[in-house]
Each structure stands twice: as structure tokens, then as C-alpha cells.
Amino acid sequence: MSISHAPPGSPSPDISGISKSFAPNAEGVSGPDLQPVVPVSSRRARVPRWLRRTSGPLLLLVLWQLLSATGVLTADVLASPERIAQVGRDLISDGSLPSAMGTSLRRVAFGLLFGTVIGTGLALVSGLFRIGEDLVDAPVQMLRTVPFVGLIPLFIIWFGIGEAPKTAIITLGVTFPLYLNVYAGIRGVDTQLIEAGESLGLSRWGLVRHVVLPGALPGALTGLRYSLGVAWLALVFAEQVNADSGIGFLRVQAREFLRTDVIVVCLIVYAFLGLLADFIVRSLERLLLQWRPTFTGR
């Protein structure tokens, strides 16, 4: 049943010569250029996907190591990968990295929790009720334009220099993207579906539960993903100022002693945590949005 498969050895897949002999008044009239529809399986590369995806970073790493080994890249500019691995292992074994990670993760977790509750809560209020929109939306849109990092000095004055200002900064950073996306998600729900729900006799709460909230979920998850990105950013800023623990503190300390190796280890930890967060949201999306057939790329 294959449409047209040139035998492996044949020079060209063009079968217009065959079609010519089928044509009623064959001589001189050539049909349209035929080309085979190649099945997906044969187009796919033989190299497995994960290998293709990891080879890029690996090459980069090899290049980096080469540059360091040949002395082009000196240690006070950027430590070699080998050295960084060594330092990473040391930091883990003496317990300073795990405890710093624990502290930072706790900050992000609390910030995310508060930010999610506040952002989603406000979005629900202004998305579901017209009076809520009038009361909430304008102030939130106004506050949104203030760069949250600029509030750090104010937060320190208000909350002192303990955990509170750090959590507050992360909370603030997380709140707005979530608010915007959940609100847009709620308002973007297809009115035809709402009408259908109404015609089925759903109550107001039933409409919210079965139509509006599921319809807003894709937007909400986009917001969550974005918020996670902002949360790490906020963490970096928050820990830069007045921290006595956490990854940021480790980094600031390393800067004092010009330890590029420790700084890179901290950056790797950030990247790793970011990837982990992204993985969690993507799993959530796969779980919650199974109903949505998505374009997966070619």
C-alpha cells in the first residue's frame, strides 16, 4: 500500500516515466512531477532523541575543558569543568551546598505558595465577578508596572533583614504573572461553551467548576511556568542583599574570594533547580491537559 518507494539503489524517486506509459496520449505530454510521500519512520534520524539533545551541551563542555587545559581560559576568569566538578563534590560532602540549597528552596517554596494563593485568588475575584474586576483589576495592573526588584529597600525597612523580605520579594514576583494569566484565561473561556453549560442547567457555581475553571487551566499553567522563572530571578536578587545563608550567600562569599569555581557551581545549581521546576510544570500540563491534542513539532 505504499504510495511510491524507490528501490534503495535507484538513482531518483521520480516515476514520471512510468506514468507516461499509462497516459492515453503519452508522447510529448508529461504529467506533473511526482514525488514520494516519505513515511515518518524512515525520515526520523537513527540517533535517539536524548542523545541528540545531550550532544550539544557535551560538545560545549569538551570545548571549555580544552580551552582551560591549554591555558586560553585562566582560572581567575573561569575555572575549568574539571575543577568545578571537584569543588561541587567538596561543597556537597562538607554539607554547605545541601544546606544552602535547602534554605533557598524553602524561600522559593514559601514565596511560590503565597504568590500562587494571592495571584490566583485575586484573578478569581476579578475574573468571575464584575464588581471584583472593578475593584481589583485597576490597582493590580498599576502595581504590576512597578519593577518588584525596586521594592527591596522598602521591604527591608518594613520587614527587617530576616526571611520575611526575601519571601515577600519572591511572592511579589510570582503574583503578577499568575494573576495576569489566570485572569486572561478566565475571560478567554469560549462564551459558546458557557451558553451550552447554561442550557444544560448548570448553576452559577456549576458553570465555574465545570466550564470556566477548566477552560482557564491552560492559561493558569502558562502563568505558573512563567512565575517559576520569575521566582528564581527574585531569589537571586533577594539573596544578594543581606543574606547569611542560601545559594545566593554562597555566591556572594565566593565573589569576595574571587572563587569563579564556586560561582559556577551556584549557577549550575540554579539552572538545575530551574530545569526541575520546568519539568514539574510540564508533567502537570501533561496530566491536567490531556484533553488537548497539541502540536508536538516535527
Binding site: 451550552a196 477548566p214 484533553w291
Partner: protein, 244 residues
């Protein structure tokens, strides 16, 4: 048996639908103007009319979705709608869509029975986005039927289907209607479909029912019957199309 869309219930009605002096204006333009319509219980009525004459508006009023009206509209409490687009909730499996909005905690088996009725029992566990156009439309019909309506409102439910699926869907509706015995108001653009299915065909124009045609042919109807062709031609003339 009937609820008034905006006035107290009159208990003496023996109609499935009773509409009198109904008006609906959009920005000062009367789309429905002093309309009168009665539908008997168990009657199959088809509603024709040129595009934009207000058929969907009337249907939405009868469904209780548009209450910004003047006049009287009495409709059964148990009524159901199937729209031109299936309007299934994409985040609910087909069977959950069918049961959506039913009181209490209905069992999946109940949805499956109704889905079987429209020949879709095997797709009960599918996501709506994986259904074909005709399947989605049948799921939407099942969702309407599971409510055991006294009045079934259909707004061009076969409009988006291909010719073959359309014929099957028409047979399906005729069959279901005969089994259920509910009153049906079918909005359609297709005169042949109207004559094939309905007891009575209405033509809407200028915001009211401008013409009414009883279809006295025996069922199942034969579209090659000369009387069928005659009715069809008459209605087409009414709609401003000359077939001769």
C-alpha cells in the same frame, strides 16, 4: 408542565410551547416582532427562513438563554438544546459531557445507554477533540436526549455535516423522536430536510411566522414522491427561490 420565561406559570396550557406577542430587539432593531407560535406536545416543527431573520434568536429565547424579551413565552421545564456546533466541553470525556448538568450523581451507564441510542456507545470514553464532526454532533444530541426533554430544540444540528452523514443523522433524529415522543423545534436551512422530518413547517420572516405548511405525508417519507416535490417547491417559492 410549562415554565414561563418571565411570568408566573399558567396551569391550563396543554401545549409544549406557547408564545404570544414575543418581541426581541437588538439595539433598537426588532429581530423578533410580535411573534406567535404554538407547538403541541410530541409535534415535530421545522423552522425555515433566510439567514439573519432571527431563527437562532427565537430558539435561544425558547431555551431560556435569552431573557431580554417582551411578551409571553411558555416552555416546558425539561427542555434541551443541540447547537449547530457541538459545543462539547473539551476537558471532559464524552460520557461526562453527556451527564453534565444532570441533578444528583448519575451513573456512567446512563450516559452509555443514551450514547448507544445515537450509535456512539463505543466512544463514551473518548476526548471530544478526537471525535469526528458527525460523532461530535451525535454526542451533542445524546447530551440533549439524556435529559429526557419534553421539548428538543435543534439549531441546524446537521449544518456542518457532509451529505452522507447528514442523511444518517436525519434518520437518527426521526427515529429518536418517534421513540421519545417529545416535541421538536428544528431550525434548518434545508427545505428538503424540513419536509422530510416535520409535521409542520414554518417560514419566518420580518420577525414573525410568515407562513405555515402542514406536511401530511406518511412516514417514512419518500423524497421521490411527487407530493413531496410539490411541498418542497411551494416552500422554496415562499422563501423566494424559483425552482421552475
Amino acid at each position: 408542565m410549562a415554565t414561563d420565561v418571565h411570568r408566573p406559570v399558567t396551569p391550563t396550557v396543554t401545549q409544549a410551547v406557547r408564545v404570544e406577542g414575543l418581541s426581541r430587539t437588538f439595539d433598537g432593531r426588532a429581530v423578533i416582532d410580535d411573534l406567535r407560535l404554538d407547538i403541541a406536545p410530541g409535534e415535530f416543527v421545522a423552522l425555515l427562513g433566510r439567514s439573519g431573520c432571527g431563527k437562532s434568536t427565537l430558539l435561544r429565547i425558547l431555551a431560556g438563554l435569552d431573557r431580554d424579551i417582551k411578551g409571553t413565552a411558555l416552555v416546558p421545564r425539561r427542555r434541551a438544546v443541540a447547537f449547530q456546533a457541538p459545543r462539547l466541553m473539551p476537558w471532559k470525556k464524552v460520557w461526562r459531557n453527556v451527564l453534565l448538568g444532570l441533578p444528583g450523581k448519575p451513573e456512567r451507564a446512563r450516559a452509555e445507554r443514551t450514547l448507544d441510542e445515537v450509535g456512539l456507545g463505543h466512544r463514551a470514553g473518548a476526548w471530544p477533540k478526537t471525535l469526528s464532526g458527525g460523532e461530535a454532533q451525535r454526542a451533542s444530541l445524546a447530551r440533549a436526549l439524556v435529559r429526557e426533554p419534553d421539548l428538543l430544540l435543534l439549531d441546524e444540528p446537521f449544518g456542518a455535516l457532509d451529505a452522507l452523514t447528514r442523511i444518517k443523522a436525519q434518520h437518527l433524529v426521526a427515529e429518536v423522536w418517534q421513540r421519545r415522543g417529545c416535541a421538536v423545534l428544528l431550525v434548518t436551512h434545508d427545505v428538503e430536510e424540513a419536509v422530510l422530518l416535520a409535521d409542520r413547517v414554518l417560514v419566518m420572516d420580518d420577525g414573525r411566522i410568515a407562513h405555515e405548511q402542514h406536511v401530511g405525508l406518511d412516514r417514512p417519507r419518500d423524497i421521490t414522491d411527487p407530493r413531496f416535490a410539490e411541498l418542497r417547491a411551494g416552500l422554496l417559492r415562499r422563501l423566494g427561490v424559483d425552482t421552475a
